[in-house]
């Protein structure tokens, strides 16, 4: 049976995301900067993951496939991080506690290995979500 754990997700800026965003959100740099997840080593071990393995992250409002990386900025066990951007926002709950601000940080997700899956590009995710994806041009 596939392993699956529940973690607390936060999504915030990384400088790699910032630089890549200004270069362009369709660039390989943006793809590599944002389609990743960072977790504590204990959680990586609990899932039996090897470095760079893909995982499926699911929240109350959707799923996304991202790559597990070992980040420079460590987290405590149970906390996970996806840089702000297109991939994070596939799973960010739009509930705002009546303030206008979505729940970008602190929402429960399940994480499981995603063998045989692939990371989608930013365009495929966003255009796909609104029925405008026409395949790689």
């Amino acid at each position: 049976m596939a392993k699956k754990i529940t973690l607390n997700m936060i999504t915030q800026r990384s400088i790699e995301e910032g630089v890549a965003m200004e270069k362009g959100k369709t660039t390989p740099e943006y793809f590599e900067a944002c389609s990743i997840i960072e977790m504590h080593d204990d959680d990586v071990k609990a899932l039996g993951l090897v470095p760079n393995q893909l995982v499926k992250v699911t929240s109350e409002c959707g799923s996304v496939i991202v790559k597990t990386v070992k980040g420079r900025q460590s987290l405590y066990p149970g906390l996970a991080f996806i840089p702000q951007g297109v991939w994070a926002n596939q799973i960010v709950p739009p509930r705002t506690q009546a303030t206008g601000e979505p729940q970008y940080s602190g929402f429960p997700v399940t994480v499981e290995p995603a063998d045989g899956e692939r990371r989608k590009s930013a365009l495929e995710l966003v255009q796909g979500a609104v029925g405008m994806w026409r395949g790689e041009q």
Binding site: Q12, R13, Q73, E101, G106
Partner: protein, 456 residues
């Protein structure tokens, strides 16, 4: 010979570095070198003159492709979308100048739109807390020249405001802080051991979402009362140590970021941060400042507060009677309730930075993107209108994160024919006035009694 332009402002983050030196080619068309900027600011300037800039508005065709159209056609299309919509939403403005924001407000008022800016998903909670509890703040210059204790709470400037620490908080030598970082204590409170935490004297790894508890514990200790052995994952001794440093400060500043505004509690986290600042002022001088994200996201708050009395989430559907009620008139909530029937994305990228569920709702209706570059919003739009890049190709006023206005300049011309946000909104406003006049004439004709001929 290449020209060096000094004291250029950077159009990236709320730090608004104004010490950049940009070298421009002989013909004034290419940016050759950018000195003093961070990695992100550097990228913005160099990206401006790379190949592939969009030079004409693009209109979505039935087959899903884009077709180039003229600015006149784009202005006409945008004005008609706004004119026909019952409740359009105009959102963004993190990356444009105050002149553009003022022009956009004229359009919003004429169209009866909701006018909102990126604070809505960023520091909007800060506004709510500031309305309730005040804002004992200062300028970044005061922090640089006076502060000997710096607190970063839920903020990671090493990544989001790369030169904040070197220009204003930790490292610079100021008038009363001549020893630079050697004479300063740095406290970082963050659930991650961030790159900012690496340079801190004390890092408190708070449990995510429990900032309010920790602020409460800080306040309790400041007032001389006992607290539990562990609060929000932090041991009592560590909390007392941090509070003692804060109480002994000559001058301190709490810089806080999205860790407070994006987590459970939202404005309440900021509210109690302000209360802690107030408490500390019983002992010494303390100030607090929001780490505003974009270089001019403070701008719409200043401009629209002056125009309408409210900084964001402005409902102008009753034209000259403005009202603001986040939760009701905020972009994400409006989108999720399907309350708007047209969307204008300007100087931001809602396609990438809104939760995808909100994007899906907004895309059910006409979507217009105004942005210099290709972004996620432009790639799902019905109409994409390119504009000049403020701070690179277009001058203008911007407000730094401490509400200090700065005049930005341009270093090169925009691509031939590309206009500014301000000019675009002025033209849309003019077209909206024409449409309104045409409609008034039609209604007037319609209202004439049947059977009565002219002259009778």
């Amino acid at each position: 010979m290449p020209t060096k332009i000094e004291n250029v402002g950077c159009p990236y983050c709320g730090v608004c570095c104004d010490d950049l030196v940009v070298t421009v080619s002989d013909d004034g068309k290419k940016i050759l070198e950018v000195e003093n900027a961070c990695a992100i600011g550097n990228q913005i300037f160099h990206h401006a003159t790379t190949e592939g800039r969009i030079r004409l508005p693009r209109l979505r065709q039935p087959d899903g492709t884009y077709k180039d159209i003229s600015y006149d056609e784009a202005v006409d299309y945008a004005a008609k979308v706004l004119h026909n919509a019952k409740k359009p939403l105009i959102y963004g403005f993190g990356s444009t100048n105050c002149e553009g924001m003022a022009a956009a407000a004229k359009v919003a008022e004429k169209a009866g739109a909701v006018l909102d800016n990126c604070a809505s998903i960023c520091h909007g909670s800060s506004f709510l807390a500031i309305f309730d509890n005040g804002y004992p703040s200062c300028t970044l210059g005061e922090t640089k020249n006076r502060a000997d204790v710096i607190v970063y709470w839920g903020a990671n400037p090493a990544h989001a405001h790369p030169r904040h620490m070197s220009r204003y908080s930790i490292f610079p030598r100021g008038f009363f802080t001549g020893k630079g970082h050697k004479s300063r204590k740095i406290i970082v409170i963050d659930p991650r051991h961030t790159d900012t935490a690496q340079v801190a004297d004390i890092h408190l790894q708070v449990q995510q979402g429990h900032d309010y508890d920790l602020f409460d514990a800080f306040r309790t200790v400041v007032r001389g009362h006992d607290i539990p052995d562990v609060v929000a994952g932090i041991e009592k001794e560590k909390i007392i140590e941090a509070v003692e440093i804060m109480k002994k400060a000559r001058f301190g500043t709490i810089f806080y970021g999205m860790g407070l505004c994006h987590s459970d509690g939202r404005n309440h986290n900021v509210d109690i941060a302000i209360s802690l600042t107030r408490d500390l002022n019983d002992f010494t001088k303390w100030t607090i400042m929001a780490m505003r994200g974009h270089y001019n996201i403070t701008g719409p708050g200043a401009v629209w507060s002056w125009q309408y009395g409210f900084p964001y989430c402005l409902d102008l559907t009753k034209r000259d009677i403005a009202h603001m009620n986040p939760g009701e008139t905020s972009s994400i909530d409006l989108a999720m309730r399907d309350e708007v029937d047209a969307f204008v994305n300007i100087g931001t990228d809602a396609g990438a930075h809104f939760p995808i569920e909100a994007v899906k709702h907004l895309r059910k209706h006409p979507w217009i993107t105004i942005d210099p570059n290709i972004c996620m919003a432009s790639e799902i739009s019905d109409l994409h209108i390119p504009v000049g890049i403020v701070g690179v190709e277009v001058p203008g006023i911007v407000y730094r994160m401490d509400n200090v206005p700065i005049q930005y300049r341009k270093v090169i011309d925009p691509p031939e024919g590309v206009i500014s946000d301000e000019e675009l909104f002025e033209r849309i406003h003019k077209r909206l006035c024409e449409l309104e006049a045409e409609e008034t004439v039609k209604e007037h004709v319609k209202a004439a009694p049947v059977g009565v001929r002219a002259g009778e």
